[in-house]
Structures are given as structure tokens and as C-alpha cells.
């Protein structure tokens, strides 16, 4: 009996399972799904065609549905469905995808099987060059109301804080004054007239004093930050305004501008030629025909001699003394190096091929090399400038590839600014050259081709575009302790100075400035490395900004 029951239950289970099984099981005929990644040129558009081909037994299979996904990695890896389509007579199936971010994309194409064919899957990568934001900023109206609203709301908040401050301070002072008023005859020698003042009037006076204090406290504690915030953000407006107006003057406005545009009052206090010639007109041994860069460590000026592959220090009498001219223990050479930066006692020199950053100590000894590690798809660096932040992070400008790259202290890639091609847009560069980092870690890039200097936050966010209309060929850039920005304009034969807000302050001109290339600041001294005149040191005289 038990056996029979068990048999019945088993049979029922088998029947249930069979009933629950899909009516159309997947077929087992093998089919291949071959990825057809987009060509490099095809990824430079807003839309990219994702394709794959279905084949079986060497022949194309049409009329089957394939689904395409993009792998996303936000909050863990998952598949984002792009779309699905049927294969045509050639077995090819394609969908159109509009990338919403640039860079590497992994595409998964999946055929889920049919009554005849087994499932198949393939994946491929492509590098999106252009991305369109998934969200477009709405175009707002009511500009006057929207402009005034934050101030109105801020005022309301201020009133609330004032009321709360008043209630608190008035209570505290009122209670204390009430106690004092009652104690006054016994403990305080009060003026005679005070005896006729009722207690509530004393309290009332204290209340008024309390009100004044409360308002003052509310204004200081809340009002000023709020006003600052409101003004700051209102000034910012939308991002396009930032770029166009932060200069203090609109581009071209200075043509009719009566502000100080003339030479700044400075004095050339030192001039050290980096090249001397013998009687035959040939550079003497020890000369630096092409001074590539300048750094100051341990209070001494160091000049990078690109052609000689060495670093020279400038003695007080102007003599150029080599401190590094050989190879490091790992065979590192400085020959052809074009960019150098200093941090503390160390100099960071980018090798000619951009494959390493050589670290040289104050005595000229090569301490080691940092090998930049770039993600796949990024071209090798052709460095035109380097700036090292206090945290040891290295910014490199790559003039050939029109980009600026940030590496951490170990040379690991952190971010890139610029699309890799010359660009006149705010997001890109046209031949970036000199770099500087200010005390806050902000980066200044001399965008030579676009004739401006761009300021970025330490995270690479564009903050300001400086010098529009004022610069001809900006090369070097440096920032002093007060945030003033100095830009060497090689073709303009001058150093142009901008205020911390990007406003034009004036220019430094001198007959010795023939091809000013590099600018550096040390204390109150402005160092200019001029390809023709050598190292020049300027100091501000009275009346300078």
C-alpha cells in the first residue's frame, strides 16, 4: 500500500514538473554570435551602431532576436539594456546606442535561444569619444523672479534666525536683569533716579539691548555666510557664465578700457645669461643653449638643460654649475627632457619620451623614477609642463595630445582633462604648455593655442578661464602667495599679470624679455627664463599691485 502511494506521489510529481516545463524548449542546434565592434572613427559621433552577426554551420541566420546590453559599474556591475533587434538576411543585427559617458564601454550581445537554436552570447569593447548627457538642463524662464527669490528666501531665513536669537538672548538677559534689579538696592550703589524706574522698564531696556545683541549675533552667525553664499552662487549662475564672465571683463572689452593696462612698476634685479659665445660665435662649453625649465630648490636656481641632458645650478656670480649630467642607477637620462618642477628639496623631471618622471634631490643625485601608468587607450605623454602639488600629485601637460593628466605620487593615473584632440571648447585644450599649482592645490594651465590660462580645481573641475583677449602665446604660468597669476607671453615679449579673480592687472615689459618662456615665483622674486636672455629676476617696486 505504502509502495503504491509512493509511486502515485512520484508519478504526480513528474507530471507536475513536466507540466511546469516550458512549452517550447530551447533547441540544441549550435549557433555563433560574432561581435562586430564599431570602428574607431564610428565612435566619434553621438550615436554608435552596435552590431553582431548570427551564423550557424557557416551560414548567416536571419530573423532571430538579439538583445544588446552595456555593462555599467555604478553600485556594482550590471547590464543596462540598450535594445533588441532581429537579424537580417546576412545574420547581422544592429542597434543604435547614444553613449552617456566617454571612455571604455563593454557591450554584451545575447541571443536567448529559440525552438531550433541554442542560446549564444558575445561581448566587445569600444571607446566612446563623444557622450551626450542623459539629462538636458531645462531652459528656465522667469529669470527676474528666479534671481530675486534666493534673496527673498534668505531674508526670510534671516528674520527667523533674528527672531529666535532675540527670544533666546532676550530671555537670558531679561532674567538676569530682573534678578539684578531686585538685588540692586542691597548690592549695587544704583543712581538715585533708578529707584523711580519700575522693574519692568529696566527689563524693557535690557530687552532692547538683548534685541540689538540678538540681531548682531544672527547677522554675524548666519547672515554673513548666507549673503556670501548667495552672492557667490548667484555670481556663478550657470556654468557657461562662469567661463565667459569670470575674467572681470568681457572678452574684447579692454580695447576701450581706461584701466591700468600699461607696464607694471617692476625692477629687473638680476640677469644671468644661460649661453655665452666664444670668438667664433659658438656657444662656450657649459652654456645652456636651450634652457628648458627652471626650478628652485634649497634656495638655489636650477635650470634644465634639455640638449645637454643635465641640470645646472646658478651660482651667485652667475656661473652655471652642472649638478646632474650623468645617468641614474637605472640608466635614466635627462636628455631631451623638456619639463621640470620642484617640490621641497626635490626636482621632478619628465623624460623625453614621457615614460618616466625622474626625481632628483637637491645635490643632483637621481633618487629614482616614477613610471606613469596610463589606462589602455591613452597615448604616451609628450610632456610640455609639469607641476607637482604639495600632496605629491603630478599634473602633466601633453601638448601633442592636447590634454592634461593627473598622476598620483606613485605615477598611477587619476584623471585626464581634454579630449585628446585640439579643441577650442572649455573642456579641451589646444597645445597646453606651462602648468602651476597654487597653495589650495588649484591647477593653472597655459592653453597656448587658445590664448588663455585655465584654472581647475584639484579634482579637475574648470573654475575660470583667464586672460581672454590679453594673451598672444601664453607659455609659462605661475602663481604667487597672494594668488596673482603671472603668464609669460612669448610672442608678446612680456609677462602678463592677473589678479586672483582673473582680472587683468598689467604687464611686465623689459628689453631683456625677448622670448620669455618659463615663469616661477620664489618669495618676492619673479623668475623668468627667457630662451634668448637667460634667467631674469624681477621684483615689484612701489605702486605694483
Amino acid at each position: 500500500m505504502r509502495l503504491a502511494s509512493a509511486a502515485i506521489i512520484l508519478t504526480a510529481m513528474v507530471l507536475c514538473l513536466r507540466a511546469a516545463a516550458p512549452a517550447f524548449a530551447e533547441g540544441d542546434r549550435p549557433i555563433s554570435l560574432t561581435a562586430i565592434p564599431p570602428e574607431a572613427g564610428e565612435t566619434e559621433h553621438e550615436s554608435v551602431v552596435l552590431s553582431a552577426q548570427l551564423q550557424s554551420d557557416g551560414g548567416a541566420v536571419g530573423g532571430l532576436q538579439v538583445t544588446f546590453y552595456i555593462v555599467t559599474t555604478v553600485f556594482g556591475e550590471r547590464l543596462m539594456k540598450v535594445g533588441e533587434a532581429l537579424s537580417d538576411t546576412t545574420g547581422i543585427v544592429s542597434v543604435v546606442y547614444r553613449p552617456t559617458w566617454t571612455g571604455d564601454h563593454t557591450v554584451v550581445a545575447q541571443f536567448n535561444g529559440s525552438g531550433e537554436y541554442a542560446p549564444a552570447k558575445t561581448s566587445f569593447h569600444f571607446d566612446a569619444k563623444v557622450a551626450e548627457s542623459a539629462y538636458e538642463p531645462a531652459e528656465f524662464g522667469l529669470a527676474p523672479i528666479r534671481g530675486a527669490l534666493p534673496f527673498a528666501v534668505g531674508l526670510a531665513v534671516l528674520v527667523v534666525w533674528g527672531s529666535l536669537g532675540f527670544a533666546l538672548v532676550n530671555t537670558i538677559m531679561g532674567i538676569r536683569s530682573a534678578a539684578t534689579a531686585e538685588l540692586a538696592p542691597a548690592t549695587v550703589q544704583a543712581p538715585a533716579y533708578q529707584a523711580f524706574i519700575p522693574h519692568h522698564e529696566v527689563a524693557s531696556r535690557e530687552s532692547r539691548r538683548g534685541l540689538a545683541m540678538a540681531v548682531a549675533v544672527a547677522v554675524v552667525v548666519l547672515g554673513l555666510p548666507l549673503i556670501w553664499l548667495t552672492l557667490k552662487v548667484s555670481d556663478r549662475g550657470d556654468e557657461s557664465n562662469v567661463v565667459e564672465t569670470v575674467n572681470g571683463q568681457a572678452p574684447g572689452d579692454h580695447d576701450n578700457e581706461p584701466l591700468a593696462t600699461g607696464p607694471l612698476p617692476t625692477t629687473l634685479v638680476r640677469s644671468v645669461p644661460t649661453v655665452t659665445f666664444d670668438e667664433n660665435g659658438q656657444p662656450t662649453p657649459g652654456s645652456v643653449p636651450i634652457p628648458a625649465d627652471l626650478g628652485i630648490t634649497a634656495g638655489r636656481e636650477r635650470i634644465l638643460d634639455s640638449t645637454g641632458g643635465r641640470i645646472v645650478t646658478v651660482a651667485p656670480d652667475g656661473e652655471l654649475i652642472p649638478i646632474q649630467q650623468g645617468r641614474g642607477v637605472d640608466g635614466t637620462s635627462l636628455k631631451g627632457s623638456t619639463a621640470m618642477s620642484s617640490l621641497g628639496e626635490r626636482l621632478y623631471v619628465v623624460s623625453a619620451s614621457g615614460d618616466r618622471i625622474v626625481v632628483v634631490d637637491e645635490s643632483g643625485l637621481i633618487e629614482g623614477s616614477i613610471v606613469p601608468s596610463l589606462p589602455a587607450g591613452q597615448e604616451a605623454i609628450v610632456a610640455a609642463g609639469i607641476a607637482v602639488s604639495d600632496a605629491g600629485r603630478m599634473w602633466l601637460s601633453d601638448s601633442a595630445n592636447h590634454r592634461v593628466i593627473l598622476l598620483n605620487g606613485h605615477g598611477e593615473f587619476e584623471l585626464v582633462i581634454g579630449t585628446g584632440a585640439a579643441s577650442t571648447s572649455d573642456e579641451g585644450f589646444d597645445t597646453p604648455s606651462g602648468l602651476a599649482v597654487d597653495e589650495d592645490g588649484n591647477l593653472y594651465v597655459s592653453d597656448t593655442g587658445n590664448q588663455v590660462v585655465k584654472k581647475y580645481s584639484p579634482l579637475g573641475v574648470l573654475l575660470q578661464v583667464i586672460g581672454e583677449g590679453w594673451l598672444e602665446t601664453p607659455q609659462g604660468v605661475t602663481v604667487n602667495a597672494t594668488g596673482q597669476i603671472f603668464v609669460s607671453d612669448t610672442a608678446g615679449r612680456q609677462v602678463v599679470v592677473f589678479g586672483p579673480d582673473g582680472s587683468f592687472l598689467g604687464s611686465i615689459t623689459d628689453p631683456k624679455l625677448e622670448e620669455p618662456h618659463i615663469v616661477r615665483f620664489d618669495g618676492n622674486d619673479l623668475y623668468v627664463l627667457d630662451t634668448v636672455s637667460g634667467m631674469l629676476v624681477f621684483q615689484a617696486t612701489e605702486g605694483a599691485p
Binding site: 553600485f75 531665513v157 530671555t171 530682573a178 552662487v233
Partner: protein, 454 residues
């Protein structure tokens, strides 16, 4: 009608300071248990800080989950306490006196907890400063932070002002039993209060001022919170009534929370002589009015959206969303809210057989749980509605989120228990003032009596 204040002054004072002097046998075991729950939440928080938001159930599609639900929920609870107290003070309702301290403390504690959740939800708390450094004055997020902080300061002042005379009482009467630290606190915070008419005048005036300020402030806090949703182009959030909808919802859940807290402390510290059934009935009336108001808003919202049943396109997927809510995967939660948060509780507080302390507290518990559920239903299904061709999003909270949420829930009674170990649980000053006022009104005026005799 009960006469809740027909008790001796000594009784009021003794009952108010009893938790300070003698916390009761269950205090420490309960505090330990709640502390362990909070500690578990702290460990979960640490885990999240170490490994990032990946330890949560948040994902590409549903990036707001338990944390944002908790934020709206707890700030809503605080709203009920503060506004109830302020409204009762402004309308000079004499029955408010034994409730206001509990209501105001609940407001502060829930606000403190609720305001932590946006920071927890950030995943990177250090980025909170970016709101100030890179804030946009056109964004409701910035104003939400301003509003919540302003409201928090107002709540602290609102709680502090009536505490001044009570702390003076503790300073003068508790003696060494208060302990050195508490005595120092009473001494400093009582500001030298001696109970003179001048002091009372100033205090009353400023308490009224803060009560006036705190009501629009609380309305603004929850309105801005509602606009965080209402100004986002998403199915379900595209609504013009979100601000008042949120305000009424916050009041509804807040009053329910006050009822639960009041009932718990009444039971634990034997305050039945001061907080009578009549108090609960008054609060139940508020609950009833607010519940019907919230039901009306819900109906208006669902009817308007359901009538149109907009299809799936950018920001207009309310049709599919409503289907999911009312018939789909969220239907049990939605109808659970309608039944457990509106129909049953409103019946409990309306029908005479259940219109008592037990029935009203049971209704409040249902409302609080259901209102959390409602906030979940506001946040998650809208996020899960696809805005891109990636199918419906799914969200299931991780253990980390559950632990942090439970810790927040446990922190409310824990902080209140600790608070009332330091400060009087009843507002002695207000109860005595109202009692004196009522007594003076009941006594016949001497001149009138003389005239009648003559």
C-alpha cells in the same frame, strides 16, 4: 470630563523629577537593550563607511531607499511634536501642560536622528561640506539643509525656554540627590531664575514668540522636503500638492508618535494622575482630523494621476507606476497602508468601544508603522519606474540598511529616557501656572462678593 490638573503641587513636582531621582527597575535593562541595537547600527554604519554604499541595496535604478525613507519619516515625527505643542500653546489649551515637555523632547530627538540620514545616504559624509562650498541657491537641497538646521535651533530653544524655571526648581530642591554634574547643569541653565513676575513676563512673551515662529518654520521644513521630490521629474513625484501632502502626513505621524511616547512614559513613570484618558482623547481628535485630511490628499493624488494614466515617457510614467502600486508588486504595501494606516486606526479612534487609551495607542502604533511604509512607497516605486530602457528597477534593503534603521528607531526611546534622567519629564512651571490660573478663575472676586452681601 476628567479634571487632569486637580492634583497637589507637590505631586506634580514629585512626579516630574521622579525619573531623575529614581529611574525605575526596567530603566537600565531597557537602556542596555536599546544601546545594543544602536551599537549594531553603529557597526553597520562603520561597515558602510569602510566599503561604501555598495553594502546597501541601492543600485543604478533605485538610488534612494531606506535612508531617504527614514529621513522623511523621522523629520515628520519631529514635526508633530513641535507643531502640536506650539499650536496648543498659542491656543492656550490648558490640557496641554503635562504633554508639552514630552512632545517637544520627542520633536528634538526625532529631528536629530532624521537629520543624520541624508548624511548617511551620501555614503561620503565628508562631502556634506560641498553643499556649502558649491551650493546652488536655486536647489531645494540647499534650502532643505538651511530649513532643517533652522528648525533644529528653533526646537532646541522651544524646548529650553520652559525648562528654565524647571531647572531652577531642580537647582533649589533636589540638593545632593541630583548629583554634581546635574546640579552644575541646573545651576548654569536656570540662568538665575527666581520666579519673579518680571521673569515670568519675559519668559511667557518669548515662549509665545518662538511658538509663533516654529509653526511656519516646521511647515517650511516639510514643504522643502516635499519639494525635493516634487521638483524632480519623476513619475509619482510630479505633483503640485506634495508640500501640503507632506505637511499633513508629517503632522499625522507626528501626533501618533507623541501619543505612543506619552503613553509609554505615562505607564513607566506612573503619570496617570496627570496624563489622563481625556488627554489621549484630545490627541485622538487631532489624529482623526489629520487622518481624514491625509486620506483626502491621497485620494486626490491617486484620482488625478489615475484618471490620466500617462504612459511611459520622460517623467510621465505615472500610469504604470499606479498599476504597480495598486495591482502590482507594491500592492500589498499600498493596500496595507490604506487599511493599517488610515481605515483601521481612524475606526479605532472614532468608535466608542475602542476610543480609550489602549485603542488610541494601538491606532497610533499602526499609523506610525504605516506612515513609514507610505514614505517607502513614495520613495522607492518612483525610483524603480524606468526612465531609460533598462526595465523596472528593484530594491531590497541590505542588512546594513535594516540595522541602521532599527538603530534609529531604538535611539528615539533611548535618547528620551536619557533626556528625562536629566530634565523634568513634566513641565512643572506650566502645570503650576495653569493650575493657579484656573484656581483664580474659580474663586469669586472679593469686590463682587461684597457688593452682593451689601
Amino acid at each position: 470630563m476628567d479634571r487632569p490638573l486637580e492634583v497637589g503641587t507637590q505631586d506634580i513636582r514629585a512626579a516630574a523629577v521622579a525619573p531623575i531621582l529614581q529611574p525605575g527597575p526596567m530603566f537600565w535593562p531597557l537602556a542596555l537593550f536599546l544601546s545594543l541595537v544602536v551599537l549594531a547600527g553603529a557597526v553597520a554604519m562603520f561597515q558602510q563607511l569602510m566599503f561604501g554604499l555598495g553594502v546597501t541595496g541601492l543600485n543604478n535604478e533605485v538610488s534612494w531607499g531606506f535612508y531617504i525613507t527614514d529621513m522623511v519619516f523621522f523629520i515628520g515625527l519631529s514635526y508633530g511634536g513641535a507643531v502640536t505643542s506650539a499650536m496648543l500653546r498659542l491656543t492656550n489649551a490648558p490640557w496641554r501642560a503635562p504633554l508639552v515637555r514630552l512632545a517637544e523632547a520627542t520633536a528634538l530627538v526625532t529631528l536629530l536622528i532624521g537629520s543624520l540620514f541624508p548624511i548617511i545616504d551620501l555614503g561620503r559624509p565628508d562631502r556634506m561640506m560641498n553643499l556649502l562650498l558649491h551650493g546652488q541657491v536655486g536647489s531645494p537641497v540647499l534650502w532643505d539643509v538651511v530649513a532643517v538646521n533652522t528648525y533644529m535651533v528653533a526646537t532646541v530653544i522651544f524646548l529650553f525656554l520652559p525648562l528654565i524655571p524647571d531647572m531652577a526648581f531642580c537647582r533649589d530642591h533636589l540638593g545632593p540627590a541630583a548629583g554634581r554634574l546635574r546640579k552644575l547643569l541646573f545651576d548654569r541653565l536656570s540662568l538665575g531664575w527666581r520666579g519673579t513676575p518680571g521673569e515670568k513676563n519675559i519668559l511667557e512673551r518669548n515662549m509665545t514668540l518662538v511658538a509663533i515662529v516654529i509653526i511656519p518654520l516646521a511647515v517650511s521644513v516639510h514643504s522643502v522636503l516635499a519639494w525635493l521630490f516634487g521638483m524632480t521629474v519623476r513619475p509619482g513625484w510630479n505633483s503640485t500638492i506634495y508640500a501640503p501632502y507632506f505637511v499633513v502626513g508629517a503632522l499625522f505621524s507626528g501626533v501618533a508618535a507623541v501619543i505612543i511616547i506619552v503613553a509609554a512614559f505615562r505607564k513607566a513613570y506612573h503619570l496617570e494622575a496627570f496624563i489622563t484618558e481625556q488627554h489621549f482623547k484630545y490627541l485622538a481628535n487631532m489624529l482623526l482630523a489629520l487622518g481624514m485630511g491625509y486620506g483626502y490628499f491621497l485620494f486626490a493624488e491617486v484620482l488625478t494621476e489615475g484618471y490620466k494614466m500617462e504612459g511611459m515617457s520622460m517623467g510621465e510614467g505615472s500610469g504604470p507606476l499606479l498599476e504597480e502600486l495598486m495591482l502590482g508588486r507594491y500592492a500589498p504595501l499600498f493596500w496595507g497602508f490604506v487599511a493599517g494606516g488610515l481605515a483601521i486606526p481612524l475606526a479605532l479612534v472614532s468608535l466608542p468601544p475602542t476610543r480609550n487609551v489602549s485603542g488610541i495607542v494601538a491606532a497610533s502604533c499602526l499609523i506610525v508603522v504605516a506612515m513609514w511604509l507610505k514614505r517607502f512607497l513614495i520613495v522607492v516605486p518612483s525610483m524603480a519606474t524606468p526612465m531609460m530602457p533598462i526595465g523596472w528597477g528593484a530594491y531590497w534593503p541590505s542588512r546594513v540598511e535594516v540595522a541602521i534603521t532599527l538603530a534609529a528607531v531604538a535611539a528615539v526611546p533611548l535618547l528620551l529616557m536619557l533626556f528625562f534622567r536629566i530634565f523634568p519629564i513634566l513641565s512643572i512651571y506650566e502645570m503650576e501656572e495653569i493650575a493657579e490660573h484656573e484656581e483664580s478663575e474659580q474663586e469669586p472676586a472679593p469686590e463682587a462678593a461684597g457688593v452682593a452681601a451689601w
